[in-house]
Symmetry: C2
């Protein structure tokens, strides 16, 4: 087994997410953004974002609704979907298509074309940015189509879950 002394953990997208920093930054970022754009960071919107950033894992709309209900907000479906749409428009939330779930954005630069890496066993999801991961998409041969949005989701198994599998 090879040892990498330098940058040993930079490639371990699942294990080394510094969520404490992530969490604090995220709240500051959204506050600043909303002020700058003159948008209303209402209690409801803030709560939805907090719910998503708290565990920083994908949640279904109805899980979010439950949590909203417990926090005293209305918990009828449109409430969640509307706020999620709004937060998605502004890049603070993404939808993970493969899970029908929503996740707080962990990319301060708001690359609106994130790549998600999804463990099929623990359902942990890592958001990776194009530049950091060299997940490159280019299409020189497609000339009759203008790409506006990309959905890239990589499903598989994380090393933790793989090691736990006895077979």
């Amino acid at each position: 087994m090879k040892k990498k002394k330098k940058n040993e953990n930079s490639s371990k997208i699942f294990k080394y997410h510094d969520h404490e920093a992530c969490f604090g930054d995220a709240i500051t970022l959204i506050e600043d953004y909303f002020i700058e754009k003159k948008l209303q960071l209402t209690p409801l919107r803030r709560k939805v974002f907090e719910i998503l950033i708290e565990d920083h894992k994908p949640l279904g709309a109805y899980e979010i609704l439950d949590k909203l209900g417990k926090a005293g907000f209305s918990s009828s479906p449109p409430i969640a979907y509307r706020v999620l749409d709004f937060l998605m428009e502004h890049g603070f939330v993404h939808k993970v298509q493969g899970l029908n779930a929503f996740i707080a954005c962990s990319n301060p630069e708001h690359s609106h074309f994130p790549t998600f890496v999804i463990c099929r066993k623990c359902e942990k999801v890592a958001e990776v940015s194009d530049d950091k991961t060299r997940l490159n998409l280019s299409s020189p041969e497609i000339t009759d189509f203008k790409i506006e949005k990309t959905t890239i989701e990589l499903t598989g198994i994380c090393s933790t879950c793989e090691n736990a599998e006895i077979r």
Copy 2:
């Protein structure tokens, strides 16, 4: 405006799908595959594949169910979903996540990692293979994850629809 004399149409993935060839090939391919693998290409399975390859566009499960009903088959949801799952397992059908729809595979080699290019206006979908389009995915920096499946969907507008937009 530049003129390209050579290979002018190879890049026009939307306009130049030779579906007549595609259709004939697809039926032969699935028949051969099922024989080789000793699988049952039952009337139901054949019908579902025919429905999908006929127009060669994505269809929702319930659209497929309608067509099955009209063809004399049962049209309760599990019928469609089971057959679709089976055909997907064997690479003859893919799910287009962005549309919650299913599409016949147009890649004879059964590359199980297709890329879909989806026009948001006409909802036409082109399946493109990695080699033909140079849509390349590589992740040298991800070391703690084993990719088993990829979902790559590019949404935007095709040239036909763009030209039709008056603005």
